[in-house]
């Protein structure tokens, strides 16, 4: 029997029972250790009474674990919503309205079996999460940053992904796993933040919260990465737009993740892990066991491979007139399909038609047919010629370097009276390390900080400070990146510009080159000029 989108067989929620047993065992062990010390050393209870004592402790552990389980997992949705300070979408706001519309569409395709609430998380970072609890409530939360930066089709795929988590029941498991200790850990974090202003951080509270976090990571082991693939597949089945989802994942992997002040222990609820680690990007037994999210790169590959079906559909739609014309084109040269900015496949185009498209850029997804792989436009040598031939305003001196994300020659630009390499398409900048100091020293001569850059810099620094601190505390390494050096082609490492200036940049340590994505260089300058420091509200 085919599974409808709604009737994804409810998973046997056996893991929830495992969690419960784990919790009971934990209390039991704590109880036994504590009691053994007190009873044997202080009260001098005779040894032959001990079995009965253990039975009593077992009962107590069952009771306490039951209470703990109930209180943390029963009302988890409201707890998370309160914790993130998430709000209902604003009906008068066009983008929020779109979000609500998509949620409504979701309810149509699921036959209204389950009401899912929508909330907006007031954070500039990009992430989405789904929460469901034992009370039967469910919520999908999306950050302001993600809402504003995604197109409609992209947002549809994100919501479909999260909805699948809720409907399949694996969201409930995740929520229970994370709320058992996560809620306490992050409350504890907040509490210790508030109480230890200016004092050393090694308070008992912070010790306790970090040990609770370790317990929560232990529960992670039961949560399989497979579910992310399944949710991706379901999202594609609903929206029929794998590229939009792949695009979203790419965007997320390059931008600041983290859903605002989301407490540690909640990361498995998110679409991409807010504190991505190198482990998340690797495969193998240990990575599968320990990590909740599969490698983004692999998820993207799978999605790109799915794109063929949508091309076949497009072909079926084209009428006979177009077919005849396309056949004529096929005799003269190769044909391509390209994805427009609204994430819809268009085509087939001949090479000259492709060149005339106003929206074609090196980062546009193209494919030359149903059986061919889907790649970025610049990776197809024939199409890449188009960009070289395009007039670029005034003639500029092309450099020997190619843009690491678009593959186009970078042009030599004068920036703050020194020479840098700029990409005409994605507005990123490549700077030799020796020149960065110069640019910073010359800050405010040519380009004063705009309000927009200032606000971005402030938000980025705040988010990054939290991430950085967590990375230091947990000893986890930064994620691997998707860019390679324009000069030596080795992978560039993505990291903070410096520990005092928490702007993320891509660097090649061999060639001493630094790549700034759009706005990142200006953000760095503003950071230094306006002495912006992380403001965590302490």
């Amino acid at each position: 029997m085919p599974l409808t989108f709604i009737d994804i067989e409810r998973q046997k929620n056996w893991r929830i029972w495992v969690f419960f047993l784990f919790l009971m065992l934990l209390y039991f062990v704590i109880g036994v250790i504590f009691a053994a010390v007190v009873a044997l050393l202080v009260l001098h209870v005779p040894l032959h009474d001990f079995p009965r004592f253990l039975l009593f402790l077992g009962m107590m552990a069952l009771l306490v674990a039951g209470l703990h389980f109930w209180f943390s997992a029963y009302d988890a949705v409201n707890a998370v919503v309160r914790h993130l300070d998430a709000r209902e979408p604003d009906r008068t706001d066009d983008i929020h309205k779109m979000f609500m519309n998509i949620m409504e569409e979701m309810h149509v395709v699921t036959g209204n079996r389950r009401k899912i609430r929508a909330v907006v998380i007031p954070s500039l970072s990009m992430n989405a999460l789904a929460v469901a609890d034992l009370k039967g409530e469910a919520v999908i939360g999306i950050t302001e940053g993600l809402l504003s930066r995604l197109t409609r089709p992209q947002l549809e795929t994100v919501i479909a992904h999260e909805a699948h988590h809720i409907l399949s029941g694996d969201c409930l498991e995740t929520t229970v796993a994370s709320s058992l200790f996560g809620t306490f850990a992050s409350t504890m974090e907040k509490f210790s933040d508030a109480s230890s202003r200016g004092r050393a951080s090694s308070t008992p509270a912070s010790l306790l919260s970090s040990s609770l976090l370790q317990l929560s990571y232990l529960l992670n082991m039961f949560i399989s990465r497979e579910r992310e693939y399944r949710a991706d597949a379901a999202a594609v089945r609903m929206t029929r737009n794998p590229i939009a989802l792949a695009e979203t994942l790419y965007l997320l992997s390059r931008s600041w993740r983290g859903a605002g002040f989301i407490g540690s222990g909640f990361e498995m609820l998110c679409i991409v892990n807010p504190q991505a680690t190198a482990l998340d990007e690797t495969e193998g037994f240990w990575a599968d066991l320990l990590s909740t999210h599969p490698p983004l790169r692999k998820r993207m590959d799978i999605l790109l491979a799915m794109a063929h079906t949508s091309i076949a559909e497009l072909d079926a739609k084209a009428d006979s007139r177009d077919k005849a014309k396309a056949a004529a084109d096929a005799r003269t040269g190769p044909q391509y399909y390209a994805m427009n900015p609204q994430q819809q496949w268009q085509g087939p185009f001949g090479l000259s038609e492709l060149g005339a498209l106003p929206w074609l850029s090196p980062l546009t997804w193209v494919t030359s047919g149903e059986k061919e792989p889907v790649v970025r436009a610049w990776k197809q040598p024939l199409i890449n010629v188009i960009f070289a031939a395009r007039p670029a305003g005034q003639p500029q001196e092309a450099s020997n370097y190619n843009c690491p994300s678009c593959g186009q020659p970078l042009v030599v630009e004068t920036y703050e009276s020194t020479q840098v390499y700029e990409c005409r398409y994605c507005a990123g900048t490549l700077v030799e390390n020796s020149k960065i100091a110069r640019i910073i020293a010359r800050t405010d001569r040519e380009r004063p900080c705009s309000d927009r850059i200032n606000a971005l810099a402030r938000a980025a620094v705040n988010e990054n400070q939290i991430r950085h601190t967590r990375q230091m505390l947990t000893g986890k390494k930064a994620p691997v990146t998707l860019l390679s050096c324009p000069k030596c082609k080795n992978p560039m490492s993505r990291g903070f510009y410096s520990l005092a200036h928490l702007i993320e940049v891509d660097r090649c340590s061999f060639c001493e080159l630094t790549w700034f994505d759009r706005d990142e260089l200006e953000m760095l300058q503003c950071l230094i000029e306006n002495k912006i420091v992380p403001d965590l509200g302490l």
Binding site: M1, P2, T4, F5, I6, D7, D94, K97, M98, N101, I102, E104, E105, V108, V109, T110, G111, R152, E156, M238, L314, A316, K317, A318, D319, R321, D322, N340, Q344, W345, Q346, F349, E353, L357
Partner: protein, 186 residues
């Protein structure tokens, strides 16, 4: 003794019959309910279109032809008597609307008009809902058909006069009319 055994077997068969019958009725009601959902969404689209046409009319003087097509496709869809003609008329309307949206891209004045943008978002959402409702309907029909046709359910269903439900096909009409997305190539 033998009488008891026969009675027990008959009782079991009766219970099984009741279970199968109830299962089939539930599925059939689900299918019919989801058909209503498509109707609701189509109605919503019919209500939105006059608003959109009235709003863009002034700015799109040279596209009267496109607007005419949308209006006539809408009235044909509203008046269509049978489900089959309705499905066909709705598909024509979808094509006409897609064409209108594509042409609207060429009018910057419309793109900056708040009202138009909101209407367009509402219509896009409705289009999605229609296709999702159709997806749900077809999924449920597939479930129902399987339940109906597998052995030994097929004996019960033919005895009790359960009729099979039709899929809501869109492909035929889609193929007959030009694909919307290609209008940019002119």
């Amino acid at each position: 003794m033998v009488a008891w055994i026969i009675l027990a077997v008959l009782g079991l068969i009766l219970v099984w019959l009741i279970l199968v019958y109830n299962g089939l009725v539930t599925l059939r009601n689900d299918v019919q309910g989801s058909w209503k959902q498509i109707d609701v969404q189509l109605k919503r689209r019919h209500d939105l279109i006059p608003n959109l046409v009235a709003t863009v009319k002034g700015a799109m003087e040279f596209e009267q032809d496109t607007l005419e097509k949308v209006i006539s496709a809408r009235s044909r869809a509203v008046l269509a008597p049978t489900p089959a003609t309705k499905a066909e008329a709705e598909n024509v309307l979808t094509q006409a609307l897609g064409k209108l949206f594509a042409v609207m891209e060429n009018y910057p004045a419309l793109k900056s008009n708040q009202n138009v943008m909101q209407l367009q978002e509402e219509l896009t959402s409705t289009e999605n809902r229609i296709s999702f409702a159709r997806q749900l309907y077809n999924d449920l029909v597939a479930n129902y058909r399987t339940k109906l046709q597998v052995f030994p359910n097929n004996i019960v269903s033919s005895m009790m006069n359960f009729r099979t439900e039709e899929y809501f096909g869109a492909e035929e009409a889609d193929r007959a009319t030009p694909a919307v997305d290609l209008s940019l190539r002119k």
